[in-house]
Subunit: 218 residues, 2 copies
Amino acid sequence: MDFKENFPVWDKLTEEEQEKLSASVRERKVAGGTLIYDGAGDCAGLFLVRSGRLRAFILSQEGKEVTIYRLFDRDICLFSASCMMRDVQFEISIEAEKDSELWMIPADVYRELAESSAALANYTNRIMAGRFSEVMWLIEQIMWKSFDKRLAGFLVEESLLEGSRVLDMTHDRIASHLGTAREVVTRMLRYFRDEGMVELRRGTVELIDMEGLEEVAG
Amino acid sequence: MDFKENFPVWDKLTEEEQEKLSASVRERKVAGGTLIYDGAGDCAGLFLVRSGRLRAFILSQEGKEVTIYRLFDRDICLFSASCMMRDVQFEISIEAEKDSELWMIPADVYRELAESSAALANYTNRIMAGRFSEVMWLIEQIMWKSFDKRLAGFLVEESLLEGSRVLDMTHDRIASHLGTAREVVTRMLRYFRDEGMVELRRGTVELIDMEGLEEVAG
């Protein structure tokens, strides 16, 4: 599996641009749980996911987290190279959620190529529009959806992502994804348990009544 | 005042592109309070603000609003042409907050130009990154800032925008900006009043203690 087969607009670049890009790309393997970009820091470059899973999140001053989006195979992470976009005024952190293989494209190379290649610039646009949509979805969730709906929706989605009804996740971890306090998660999970929708064991949540959870999620 | 003097990357377009763009631009005057794009509807095209002020907001299924950002002179509104960006999966509504003069660029013309012009595509990117930053700021506000801080910050910002300490705004209207219920706004405004920071009259809020409000806003 090669970089050029995974980079979405490879065929739309000139030969010269292709050479420049592939000469600069570096492969990187990271273990699950590794923070690969801390938002404030230096410009890590763009990550193209070869395999594994990345999580983008924001951090409050008090260290609280909210998950913004996830990146899967062939997804590209723009905001780890936000130094190349002076209009990006926020800080996103990126961690590997699973063991991951990445290609890293240096920010300056990407920016230079995008300056002359309309195809690459339009591709950047499409990625940003996609991320923008995920963030708008999150705002709607936070503003207008009650917490039981958000939590039920999160559990169902995680179960589909993991391909398992048993989620290895502490309440604390779930709270970090949803940007709330652990106590709030624990209280709602106990309510779901009392309704027969989940079973709780130390560090795991088992989904028993998938239909019920989907119904709560709405 | 001419379109080409207000369109930020005019000089970076070829003569042919410039001709195509200026031949397609239409001028439009709208009265304050007019909804100029309803999100779901057809593709209005891009608006470039010549004068006045636009407000972009999202609507819940129950009709609740949250202000996402404002557009001022020389700002351009991308999302009123989101039909041209298939990765935009959300609906933003746009209203004129004041009497406004706009230039309207048809979505298909803009898209076609951006496909060949890297300058225009990169400009689109910069606009989107700027709006993205405003949305991320909003998420941080909603997630981590208590309502007294948000309201105080809103009042100070509106006062600067209007160049006046007297804001002609009902509590209902303020609630729409901040995505909350009128009662919540009324309660907090009364608290500010009791603290000597504002005076309340029917349909207006007067800011008395600007420093105090700024301090609450943090």
